[in-house]
Amino acid sequence: MMESIHDPDDAIAAPATPWGISALAVIRTTGCRCIEKVSTVFKPSDRLKKALGGMAVYGEVFNPADGSPADQVIALVFRAPASYTGQDTVELCCHGGIPSVRKVLDALKAAGFRDAGPGEFTLRAFLNGKVDLTQAEAVNELITAKTRRAHDLAFNRLSGALWKKVDEIKQSLVEVLSALELTLDYPEDEIEEPEEISLPTLSSARGKLQSLLKTYRTGRLFQQGIRLALAGRTNAGKSSLFNLLLREDRAIVSEIHGTTRDYLESWITMNGLPVLLLDTAGLRASDHPVEAEGIRRSEEIIENADLVLYLVDASRGLSAEDREYLEKSTDRVIPVWSKADIAAAEPPEGFLPVSTVTDQGREDLERRIYESVLGTEPLDAAVIDSERQKDCLTRALEALERFIGDVGEGIPLDAASADLKEAVDALGEITGEVTSSDILQRMFSRFCVGK
């Protein structure tokens, strides 16, 4: 955390809505003397300066160099500490579209703002005690979450589903550790009933850690989405399928082979999972230089995709080229029997019949895509998706496994217990608590010891 920090009082600005075409865009500014600074490029300046927290002021942002207008805006004023960052904040609501956002940002820069770094608003919120560490991570992901489902996952962490789960594992280990420590802290021949180490508790904790760790991939997938490439010979129907999945005519569909010369991409969601759909030029050797370049690019995209839909035109059947590709392919590839409405033959083993004309097989295909990424199990409410959490859980699991191994080998427990302690500490890092005193607490409430 420490390394990336600029001065947390600086005035900073950044668009709060994605770059691109939309009706409205929001630019957020915050920092020391933020309201005064915005008002130097805002008309009517005084109204903004005097605005109370929570007020909206309509006006114009202008370029201070030549006085030319940048955009008509509504300025929402938040006064410290009642703002997201805990500092004075102005949110400027301007017209959508890259040119107007650019102009407003330029004006703000002239007024002394600098571009905010990634996560800098949340960092300030954190530094000013507005959010805690896990919340800060989750907020960041709420913002960058690509779909509603991802949003839910990020939100869940705020509400503590993960905290509860981790704490539960931690408590079970603390229980074992305190019994162990107690036994260790009294001479062996002066303890009447030394506590046994509960192996079932340990292995149950191990299982829970493992399954929690597995959710990292899920969390990550919902966070970042997957890359799904459409492959197959030219004219196999890739662009048509692309459009079908996208439900809008974006790719040019044509009967002339090789129309999609470069590639197209678009974000869609399947069952909440963000999917970057990549339409490629097809895999046909070509003399046309532009097209040849497109094919080379296609190969690269297919190579880097998380999942590939390989289309074979059902009216034409499998070619030698198709067979060759499919033979090499892995479980990363879903074979699709396209144009199923005019099929010349039954789909070969493993092929999914789909028609973009009749919509046949679309739902099956979507399900197949989702399941080949996430499996068929229902998703857990507690999902980890930050690198830090994953590291902590991995450390906890490794330490626990070392401990279980050591107990099996009869390694003296005072040495081995350091591993159990490390597991507990690593979990404590996620839930954000110190634990050494927990252990002593537990030791004496449960056991009768002492001369």
């Binding site: 920090i5 530094l127 802290d185 001479p187 021949d189 390694i411 010891v449 002492g450 001369k451």
Partner: protein
């Protein structure tokens, strides 16, 4: 000024504090209520045990006295937990109580620059600002001035003892309480609380039937706590074990309302880990029996100590339930068990040097800081004495880290977390206990004692020589290869292994390989076993050392003493309040304050990094 330094109280803390100050060349006066009670073992007749034995050896490495005292008066020696791992292995000795106390007094008397004086301190003298200590006032009206004062009042400050319905202002049975000082400290604005502790009855040994008990003998070989190398040649007396039973418990239960604790007379909190028999019976009703250890109080006395059965029930009830124990049927009580309640200072009012934040030059150590135990008291006394001396000399205090000494763990816990019950050391309080083995205390701390001026150059040479020996033996074990069949009784296929590798096997001990290495036969048992432990636990020790390096990062980020938490936006009012109260010296210490969240530490880290250096 009459003296450079004045120490209040001649208990285990006071002894070490006074000796350290005088040995560092400061004219020192020890004022205590009774010169005959110097170094008295108030409770159990033993020194050492898990983690406590390590503390005794830490005291020795730094140049303190406790190890040398017990080495000369022990009447039984044991190494505990030999079959367990190295971190929980420890020395413990039974002490001849009377000799311990007499030897302590004699040692003080012979110390140059140290004077003893019998009186009771009732108040402190301060300068006109009210923030610097200048001496003390006593019960008999003496005023004694000193540049620094170490307060070690044990269980005596406003002490009150309880035996059933009987109560009396005492610090120990038969010794008057020290009255007045507690009130004076309250008036100065200190937070003073009440704690309680208890002790069991002492009985006539000749009234017991040892045939009905299990014998617990000492080890045949006696080792010294002290690293000085002085030989220990002491008698070896056994202890005995007997058990309570349902009848014992019934009598206690029937009379529980007559206990001052359960009757509500005592407000101070007692230790959970050293419960009275009343506590044990009430809190663990399902336990059919509890162990009781019968320990001699010394040579030349018939008195025995009944360890594990401390009680403050009325005397006749004590006698009645004690007589239900096998071997104790005809027991005659010499002194009854009792509980004592006393004033202690919330140790969060201290810097890690043990100097009070409120009054400059005033140091506090021992039971007064909420601890219990001789060793815990002694190590604090030593550190307070050292730091008071360093301050007189204008030098920085000596603060031991949690990774280098149990003493460091103890003081850090006290000043950072405070305590609500008598604090006793446990190995589990130390995060890095594999690094705090008793047999490495000299390697860890002799140098520090030497730099302070308490350790001799001979001690340094001894320590260096040990270090060399460890390396030498290690080198030999690395080089020498085992021939098949050379050690009888080993499973086949061990031939060709280096001895060092062989020693990692839990079945093989250093004694097994000694016949193959005539070169090392002359090294002491302690040194050989130290090498053995280093090898056997190398992986664990290495990992712990790595953790220590991580831990030291936060420790090394210092928080300036004048750091102002008030303007910090990112912190809850509660955290700020706690940080202002504790005034942690490092980010590491701050991170251990209870209730300060990790996000608060992150905020602090950012701000400290931003501060102009």
């Amino acid at each position: 000024m009459d003296y450079d330094a004045l120490v209040i109280g001649g208990g285990h803390a006071g002894i070490e504090a006074a000796l350290a100050l005088a040995r560092l060349g400061y004219s020192t006066l020890l004022v205590t209520q009774s010169l005959d009670a110097i170094g008295r073992l108030s409770c159990n007749p033993s020194i050492g045990g898990l983690s406590k034995g390590n503390i005794v050896r830490e005291i020795d490495a730094l140049g303190g006295e406790m190890a040398r005292l017990i080495d000369r008066v022990m009447i039984q020696f044991r190494i505990l937990n030999l079959r367990r791992g190295p971190a929980v292995r420890a020395f413990r000795a039974q002490a001849d109580k009377f000799s311990y106390s007499r030897l302590a007094k004699e040692t003080l008397e012979h110390q140059k620059d140290l004077h003893l004086f019998q009186d009771t301190v009732t108040d402190l003298l301060l300068d006109s600002s009210g923030r610097v200590v200048q001496g003390v006032k006593t019960e008999r009206g003496n005023t004694i001035s000193a540049r620094t004062v170490v307060l070690t009042t044990g269980t005596f400050m406003e002490g009150m003892i309880f035996i059933g319905e009987h109560t009396a202002p005492s610090g120990r049975l038969g010794e008057p309480a020290a009255l007045g000082l507690g009130t004076a400290l309250r008036n100065l604005g200190f937070t003073v609380g009440r704690l309680k502790t208890g002790t069991p009855a002492r009985a006539a040994g000749s009234s017991l039937d040892y045939d009905k008990m299990e014998e617990q003998p000492g080890d045949p070989e006696i080792l010294a706590f002290s690293f000085s190398g002085a030989p220990v040649n002491r008698p070896n007396l056994p202890c005995y074990i007997t058990y309570t039973n349902e009848e014992t418990h019934r009598i206690i239960r029937e009379n529980i309302h007559r206990s001052p604790l359960y009757g509500g007379k005592i407000v101070g909190k007692g230790p959970r880990y050293c419960p009275s028999i009343e506590d044990k019976v009430v809190r663990f009703p399902d336990r059919p029996r509890h162990q009781v250890f019968v320990e001699p109080e010394g040579l030349g006395t018939d008195e025995v100590y009944l360890n594990g059965i401390s009680s403050s029930l009325p005397e006749e009830v004590q006698e009645k339930f004690l007589r239900t124990l096998p071997g104790l049927e005809n027991l005659r009580i010499f002194r009854p068990g009792y509980a004592v309640e006393y004033d202690y200072l919330d140790p969060r009012q201290l810097f890690p040097s043990l100097e009070t934040k409120r009054i400059k030059g005033l140091y506090v150590a021992g039971q007064t800081n909420g601890t219990s135990g001789y060793e815990e008291a002694a190590c604090q006394g030593l550190m307070a004495g050292i730091n008071a001396a360093l301050a007189l000399n204008g030098r920085e205090p000596l603060i031991l880290s949690r990774a280098e000494a149990y003493t460091g763990v103890l003081i850090d816990d006290l000043v950072t977390l405070g305590t609500e019950e008598p604090y006793r050391m446990f190995t589990s309080r130390a995060e890095y206990r594999l690094c705090l083995r008793h047999d490495t205390a000299d390697l860890r701390l002799t140098g520090k004692g030497y730099r302070v001026g308490l350790q001799s150059s001979e001690a340094m040479e001894r320590m260096e020589k040990k270090r060399q020996s460890l390396e030498e033996i290690r080198e030999l074990l690395k080089q020498r290869t085992l021939k098949e069949g050379e050690i009888p009784g080993l499973p086949e296929g061990q031939g060709g292994k280096k001895l060092e590798v062989l020693l990692r096997n839990p079945q093989v001990s250093i004694a097994d390989v000694l016949p193959l290495l005539p070169e090392v036969r002359d090294f002491s048992r302690e040194i050989l076993e130290c090498v053995e432990t280093d090898i056997k636990y190398e992986g664990y020790i290495k990992r712990q050392e790595q953790q220590v390096r991580r831990f030291e990062k936060l420790e090394s980020i210092r928080i300036p003493p004048d750091f102002d938490y008030q303007p910090l936006e990112g912190m809850s009012a509660e955290s700020k309040e706690k940080l202002r109260l504790i005034r942690p010296v490092s980010l590491g210490q701050a991170s251990r304050i209870s209730g300060v969240r990790s996000s608060d530490i992150a905020v602090l880290m950012v701000l400290l990094a931003r501060r102009p250096k």
